[in-house]
Symmetry: C2
Subunit: 242 residues, 2 copies
Amino acid sequence: MTYCVAIRMREGMVFVADSRTNAGVDHIATFRKMHLFPGTDGNRAMVLMSAGNLATTQSVVSLLRQLDSEGNGLNACDSFYAAAELVGRTARSVVERDAGPRQEHVDFGSSFILGGQIRGDAMRLFHIYPEGNFIEASEDTPYLQIGEIKYGKPIIDRVISIDTPLDQGVKCALISMDSTIRSNLSVGMPLDLLIYHKNSFSLQSHYDIHDSHEGYQQLREAWSRGLADTFQTLPDMPWRTD
Amino acid sequence: MTYCVAIRMREGMVFVADSRTNAGVDHIATFRKMHLFPGTDGNRAMVLMSAGNLATTQSVVSLLRQLDSEGNGLNACDSFYAAAELVGRTARSVVERDAGPRQEHVDFGSSFILGGQIRGDAMRLFHIYPEGNFIEASEDTPYLQIGEIKYGKPIIDRVISIDTPLDQGVKCALISMDSTIRSNLSVGMPLDLLIYHKNSFSLQSHYDIHDSHEGYQQLREAWSRGLADTFQTLPDMPWRTD
């Protein structure tokens, strides 16, 4: 599986993706699931993350890159809405090409998160479904997840709002990923981290986080220690057991 | 859906079950999923929790109660292994009775957690699958979950071992449940909490926890506050965003 999460806050956005793919536990590999579309004129910055059938997601990304080289891709979209439509249309066309009548048991579907900013518009964040339709993150629900989403959802639900400072959002997204990795073997290191600053139109803050990454290790350890400490100081219950 | 969790520690066991069932969001109801089998001679204590098809789980519990009244039920089992076998056999017989050839689209399956102690044996904890087969919790993996298990798994993975004190295990199970309820609408209050003390052969420590339960509220609030405080004190990252 996969786990990808993106959060849109007032100050900016954060995107985190793992890199493990598996077709059964004996076929595990590392593939990047975060794809950057920085634009060419300094007026746009787009990030695409993918989950689901690896053949489909790779084809979709290849086709989108090819469309860009022909001048009809994401870089040519006037709006983020049009970009989300293009990703959905491309994904549907790949599935229609690959899924034949004798392959009902294969799931060709893929989900995508597309986020970023085009000059003149606000930051936008979309979740594109395997069917090609899509939803957008809102002020009330400022985050989107694809893949193995459940393990890492509680911490986001507790911490994140549209007003969360960007650096806190980054920490929360990484902790959400860490919780998922600890509980699910099919999600694994290394991670892609992308921090987007509002109105920067830059994808420069992109980090490749391996197991030995010092900052990530410190964050994980501080969080584990903090949880343990919090646990020790919880009030005793009326159903005390001693 | 449902969420049930049970943990076996050296000092005792804890069982927590929610009580929400749904067949679509417009058919939500409250049914208890924790069933106590206290025995009749002070030599055994058994707890059964269920998830899955409500008709199947209710039938299984009814049949087990009837078997007990006839002297062939859980109370007559010499061992916990035999009890787990009986639950599995009963569940399979109900599914075989109800699932007809024109009902392939209906999932009649149910999962069960069966735990407790019979005098002369250690505390035991089993997960019985819809197929009727089962696994047992171990020293390495001292907890079992059924239903919506993913949201509440990370906190257990971080905190619980066989050596965890019983009162900490109770708090952890309740926090795992709270995290699930916050993130998934199909899991809801009230809760059943059962604390079993090793070699007590008593199911007296059974609590019915409603929204207004003071201890549970304090626990939830202390945990939320502790998480928020921990979050505030996390180290700044090399990818500082200001």
